[in-house]
């Protein structure tokens, strides 16, 4: 009989005790990108899940946001004053789970039980998991909710920062552009969009399926400040957000983060069949080795 319970059924005191005991997050508590990628491998091998390269392309993006920019008073994922991260690209959620584990919001056993019967961690992003905020995975959803959150924050006069991470394949969705138009038109300077531009979507290269000819110009025309950076450079990611904030630009920021799908494992990098490929013992061991781990 399955005894695993969803997060919402946990006693409230449990999570608040954890938050109080941890206090503010220290930089050192966020795992390194290499360790996050190992954790993703472990989860996906144990659970026989897919979407490994999709998670690998946004590891540095999520790391920088959590380490440098997101503020959770009392390290609480439910603080009313918290900043808001919406992983609109819900199928990259495996990259987020190790960070949430490090924050103490989910447990190691949750990751170890990924995809097992009754698992508390779904394969796509769901708000019931502390720190996940929004139900995504159906593409084109999260960005609109994030923009609504940013709109609300501005009306409240709060200093909350709102981030949404979308995939470049996700940019196919019409609802993304509805949200972009709204954020740009209303000059939501508290909103930052990060586009994980790994140049692939489920069935092939975005350039061969559906893509804007000039995404940078398109985002400009929708009222965004736009920067194009190396999405695996934590320094570039950090600086682009800092610069936007320091210069107090009156427009939302869009970061086109050029990434590599499957970054870190040579036989996955830009090999799109890995979008839906599961690890076997041989590929699991080889990938671990490439990341510099013996087991």
């Amino acid at each position: 009989m399955c005894t695993i319970q969803p997060f919402l059924s946990r006693p409230m005191s449990t999570s608040s005790e954890i938050c109080i005991s941890l206090g503010s997050m220290k930089q050192s508590e966020i795992p390194t990108a290499r360790h996050i990628r190992r954790r993703i491998l472990e989860m996906s091998y144990a659970g026989q899940s897919v979407h490994i390269p999709s998670a690998y392309s946004l590891v540095e993006i999520l790391r920088v946001l959590h380490e440098k920019h997101l503020r959770y008073p009392g390290n609480s994922p439910s603080s009313i004053d918290r900043d808001f991260l919406c992983l609109s690209k819900g199928h990259g959620v495996m990259a987020l789970y190790p960070i949430l584990e490090a924050r103490g919001w989910i447990q190691r056993e949750d990751l170890d039980n990924y995809f097992s019967d009754g698992s508390r961690l779904p394969g796509l992003c769901e708000a019931a998991v502390p720190g996940c905020e929004v139900n995504t995975g159906s593409l084109g959803h999260g960005i609109g909710v994030a923009v609504g959150y940013a709109f609300g924050s501005r009306m409240k006069g709060s200093e909350q920062r709102v981030f949404s991470v979308v995939g470049d394949g996700e940019m196919n969705e019409g609802s993304v552009w509805e949200a972009l138009m709204f954020a740009g038109f209303h000059k939501l300077s508290n909103f930052t969009l990060v586009i994980d531009q790994n140049s692939f979507q489920a069935m092939g290269a975005t350039s061969e399926i559906l893509a804007a000819e000039n995404l940078e110009r398109a985002l400009h025309s929708f009222g965004f400040e736009v920067v194009v950076i190396n999405g695996h450079s934590e320094l570039d990611l950090d600086n682009s957000i800092l610069t936007h904030r320091e210069e107090a630009r009156p427009r939302p920021l869009a970061i086109i983060a050029k990434t590599v799908k499957g970054k870190g494992v040579s036989f996955m990098e830009n090999v799109n069949s890995w979008h839906y490929t599961r690890l076997d013992l041989e590929t699991y061991s080889a990938a671990l080795k490439e990341l510099g781990f013996s087991k």
Binding site: F84, V134, H141, G144, V147, G148
Partner: protein, 304 residues
Amino acid sequence: MRDGFKSAILERAKVDDAFHVLTGDHGYALFDEFALRYPDRFHNVGVAETNMIGLAAGMARNGMRPLVYGLAAFVPNRVFEFIKLQIATDGLSVTMVGDGAGLVYSTLGVSHQTIEDLAIIGSLPSVTALAPASNEEMQVAVEWAGHSGLPVYIRMGKSGGSFVGAHPGRSPHPTLVREASFGPTKRALIAHGSMVSAALELSNGPGQLFDIWSCPTIFPLPESFLEELSFRYEQLVVLEEHGTHGGLGSNLLFELSKENISVEQIGAKLEEERTTGSYPWALRIHGLSDDRILQKLGSLGFLH
């Protein structure tokens, strides 16, 4: 109905600072006073209903209690998946109003006629669905939705005429709006929205052999109401300007399936949704004109 809605949102704004109204560029003349009095809480978000649901969900997650307004053809029909994932799944406090429901836009054809909205929203167990029949019921619906803190869909159809529902405790509980002429009866007609007035008018005169109920709550049906129906009646007719699949009629059929009570339906016909013409003509095509309703009631023994 629209007057009731206009006054209801003004009342709600007065008592709740977190109350905001969003519209997808619909609602001509409906929000003039609200926008004048609460300019910071009225948002025309553009012709982007899908994004409007996302925005409302984000605002609700940020402590606000938004009401989103659209034509029922769009809210809930067009944006169903966003409602499911972003509002219903986590039970956010968002009120969704679908205007022009039923055959209101009979001349505009299939894109705007909406006789399946309750079926759609009824598939989401966390969403309460209300279909008021009068200004009074609309005011109660908006007020109740605000207090509930739940996701609520309010269906706004053709104006309910002069009918005024009685609402003890100001809840959208079903109301016995007219009793049979000659004392207790085993037959009742149950309607919502525009069909309550229709039922009252067509049976207006001596010799009515059945009770008439207004039932503004479609999902979930109150247990006490179901118990009362089972206790009092042997034969029910449900009258609604909605398809017979997934509306009040089919919900009552399901809920009362184990009771010794028959439930007949008079509702719109999904296969006739391409009908284009005047509202009275559309009602007739769908079997909802006075003569067609009387014909059906007669065949069921409700008239003699």
